[in-house]
Amino acid sequence: MAAAERALTLRGNARVRRRRIVNRLVEGVATIAALAAVAMLGLVVWSIAKRGAGDLSWGFLTKSLPLFGEPGGGIAPLIVGSAILVGIATAIALPVGVCIAVFLQEFASPRVRAPIQLVIDLMNGLPSIVIGIFVFGLLVYGHPQNGLAGAYGLAIVMLPLITRATQEVLRLVPSAQREGALALGASRWRTVVGIILPSALGGILTGTVLAVARAAGETAPLLFATSIYATTVQWDPRHALPNIPTQIFIWSESPDPADHKRAWASALVLMLFVLVTSLVARAAFVRSRRKLSR
């Protein structure tokens, strides 16, 4: 009875009521904010799907780029070029990134680790246009544009991502495994190559796939390196390679509505690739993490 009375008086207290209302209000605002972010993603994806799906066809995926002002055409050269660029970038960034992570986690003393870690973190925060103009100054200025320069730029974007992802899984490898291998008389390199890297493989692959998804959509490192190219499929990375992000950029700046339609359809292709790969990688990461930490 006494408790009920107290509850009644509590409800009657204006201050308490106000505090409760404020609390409700803030909770509501936070929920709405989260919903708004999700809605924003939905809106972007939906409007790309709506505008891009109509022009997406087998012909669009397999034909050469349209000549200036001509109708039709397709994006086969862009898909091939982007695949080559990202492929080369991955071939550079994956081994280097994994090596750096192994050095930082397995070998480096704290005093050596700190500056290298700092450089990796700073590299991760570099604006990609700075990478673009660096690559331009180093490899393109004074030469013709070439795909290799673009691929190097993308590799600089990917490197810190792969390094960090690998470091994270290396940290998760139970130290019992490491110590067990060493206690059995295995050398350091056998421990790393035979025990640690295999159990970290899932996480490394996930990190790489996420980095690939990121690099596939990067425009700024390519803009100065490989943006003036032929309209047909190009295989040789020593020449400028057509690629999806740069072409979307060029088409989006064009006043021609037909170019806008092509941009939407290309954006849909790019988005599908990025979303599917990063979602799959994330799901796989959660699984491999659970397996490791068990």
Binding site: A37, M40, I48, V96, I100, G137
Partner: protein
């Protein structure tokens, strides 16, 4: 152990191989790390070296010079307009994004039921995975017209007496650029803040609740209060992202060469000016001026990241000490 010559030889063999393997692996991994450091040094060196011409011609006054004239007769370049544009777009992005991001992080760390938490959390992170060129395309063709038709007339009607909301609405301009940047900044700040909020010791939160605080009072007094330095670091990282974004801004900002007071008018930022001139640079001075812009961006990028690191490191020590 046995002293048979054969096993001894094998043993010796293995020892040599292990020694060699260890050396090679160490060399390889150290070499990779040294290469990363070398790339970073090369970036700084190249940008300083390539902007030498512009630095010697315009000096430090490049930073406030507002003329950008590639006409061969003039060839005068200054970054004043661009720095103004960068500051304004980044401020708009932060003003819109930071409260939103903190609210999202609170929702994810405190309010959402477990199942919802994972889904909404990964959707917010997916927003960060949208390529900037795609977001820019969406910005110029979908959001721009919407802002010009609805948001800007509304702002103009109610706040038109403030100069920044004067002028006629337009689908590409500083405001649209700031809003697009906000969409990019939200997931960054939200995911850092969420981790911060989750790491607040449960005893503190439960203590506040046990003292009769409502959830909001607990959030304000315990979570937000104890995470302040971390939130600052997150905001700085978001700011760095907003300042450095080139592509999406180039698509929506409208590439103006002079300063407009109105946010509805076109402008340009450091990063978007570089991106916008990818085919247009003719003279050596102009190219060098672009490198100068890149150098300014590099310095800002390094400073924001270092600052965020310092804050986080001090904060980590503090929190570890508090436990």
């Amino acid at each position: 152990m046995s002293t048979l010559p054969l096993t001894e030889r094998l043993e010796g063999h293995r020892r040599v191989r292990d020694w060699l393997g260890d050396r090679i692996l160490l060399l390889l991994t150290f070499g990779a790390s040294a290469a990363a450091v070398a790339v970073m040094v090369a970036i700084v060196y190249k940008l300083v070296d390539a902007s030498h011409l512009a630095i010697s011609k315009f000096g430090i006054s490049f930073l406030w010079g507002t003329v950008w004239d590639a006409n061969p007769a003039k060839n005068v370049f200054g970054a004043g307009t661009l720095i103004y544009g960068t500051v304004v777009t980044s401020l708009i992005a932060l003003v819109v994004a930071v409260p939103l991001a903190i609210a999202i992080a609170l929702f994810l760390s405190e309010l959402a039921p477990r199942g919802v938490r994972g889904i909404v959390g990964s959707l917010v992170e997916t927003l960060a995975a949208v390529p900037s060129v795609v977001l820019g395309l969406w910005g110029i063709l979908v959001m721009g017209p919407f802002v010009a038709d609805h948001l800007e007339p509304w702002l103009h009607r109610w706040f038109g007496f403030i100069p920044i909301f004067s002028g006629s609405p337009s689908s590409s301009g500083v405001l649209v650029a700031g809003l697009v940047l906000a969409i990019m900044v939200v997931p960054i700040v939200a995911s850092i803040c969420r981790e911060l909020f989750v790491s607040v010791p449960d005893e503190l939160e439960e203590g506040a609740l046990a003292l009769g605080a409502t959830r909001w009072e607990m959030v304000r007094g315990v979570i937000l209060h104890s995470s302040r330095p971390g939130i600052a670091a997150a905001v700085i990282l978001g700011l760095g992202r907003a300042i450095g974004e080139a592509i999406a801004v180039t698509q929506v900002i409208g590439a103006a060469t002079d300063i407009h007071v109105s946010l509805f008018a076109p402008g340009d930022t450091l990063a978007s000016r570089i991106a916008g001139q990818y085919q247009g640079a003719v003279s050596n001075v102009q190219i060098s001026a672009l490198f100068y812009l890149g150098l300014i961006l590099l310095v800002i990028g390094l400073l924001t990241n270092l600052l965020a690191q310092v804050i986080v490191r001090r904060f980590d020590v503090q929190r570890a000490g508090a436990r």
